[in-house]
């Protein structure tokens, strides 16, 4: 699994976006940060809480100049139907049917043949600044991901559970 400092593997894949099939390329994402989250499957019972959760919080991520991208091994038709089932998803759901992208990020579960629940935040140079993975049966916290994004954007030393408004750590220290 990629760790902070690693360059993010590029991608250019089909995706479902706003009810249509489109293409999504890392090179064409122009926001300061890019949040890429892998999830195991469409049409499951934990994934929609995350997929829909990121969609509900999309405005907050956009306000942080952060693009959100979801990836699973399902094909783009499945993504389209799944997004419709969830009431529409306004960020791209990438189709990675053979798991190439998941493998490139080191989050492909060879036993289950699905991507792990893994989250990456990439900086402007498209290097990993944050990476995290959860067991397949445990859903991620969208507010916590947003907190991380906000903390990263400060460029400051952020103590545990830092939130906007809370004091930063000493500016002459790196960690």
């Amino acid at each position: 699994m990629l760790k902070p400092g690693d360059p993010a593997p590029p991608f250019d894949l089909e995706c479902a976006l706003n009810g249509r099939i489109a293409r999504c390329s890392l090179a064409k994402i122009s926001t300061e940060l890019a949040l890429i989250f892998f999830y195991p499957r469409d049409f499951s019972f934990i994934c929609p809480t995350e997929v829909a959760g990121f969609n509900s919080a999309l405005k907050d991520f956009t306000a942080e100049d952060t693009a959100v991208v979801g990836v699973s091994i399902d094909d783009v038709d499945s993504h389209l139907r799944w997004a419709r089932e969830l009431g529409g998803i306004a960020y791209p759901l990438l189709a990675d049917p053979d798991g190439t992208l998941a493998r490139a990020y080191g989050v492909f579960d060879d036993d289950q043949k699905v991507a792990l629940r893994a989250t990456f935040v990439l900086d402007r140079k498209r290097k990993v600044v944050f990476s995290w993975s959860c067991p397949l049966n445990v859903g991620r916290s969208v507010p916590e991901t947003l907190r991380i994004v906000r903390a990263i954007r400060t460029g400051q030393l952020c103590p545990a559970d830092w939130k906007p408004g809370v004091e930063f750590g000493p500016s002459d220290r790196n960690f």
Binding site: F43, F45, S78
Partner: protein
Amino acid sequence: MDPADPAQKKQLFERLSSVREIVFGVQDGVLTTAGVLCGLSGAVSQHSQVALAALASTAAGALSMAAGAYLGAQAETEVLRAELDVVRADATARPYTLQEGLLDELWKEGLSREAAYRVVRLLSASPRALASTAEAKMFGLGGSMLGNPALDGLVMGVAFLVGALVPLLPYMLITVQRYDLGGALVATALTLFAVGYFEGWLAHRRDRWRPGLRFLAIAMSAAAAGYLIGLAISPLGATAG
């Protein structure tokens, strides 16, 4: 009885769960008693002593089998009930776990992922429906598996008793030596064949004679072994007496 009626079919399946006790009890009663008769006939010469010992063995066997069946069913029911409680509590507290597991099972059984998702989603409208389906599909558990220990014990005891009377009655009624044991063995053979045939009938088999012969072969082997063991230990009886 209408075989297409699901309620009647369910009732039939519940009744069929007693078949194990009936078949086991009858078979054990017949075999044990025939074995005792053969063994004692080889070791003891007096007809009345053999009959008395076989009667005592029958009474002890019936009580022991009934108690064993009761205790076994009681333990099984308690363990199963505890497992079902855990699954049902999970369905309420962590429905995602059951939903995902059930979805996977349905998917593996050939439904598309999307169809399986919709089925599970519909079932999720009722935690009880979700739990009972998950119990059956994921864990192979079912409410109908919860037996009635008292009934199981009673059925087993009576079945053993009925089975034991099959060789015992001819043996007691026929007083002519040699024919007494022969009569008991013929009755035993016919009954065991009938039990096997009955099992084949319940299983809708066309070759019902096959399970009948299987029962018969096992019975004859056990009886022959019992007789040989009796012959082998008869010198010990002579020494002790």
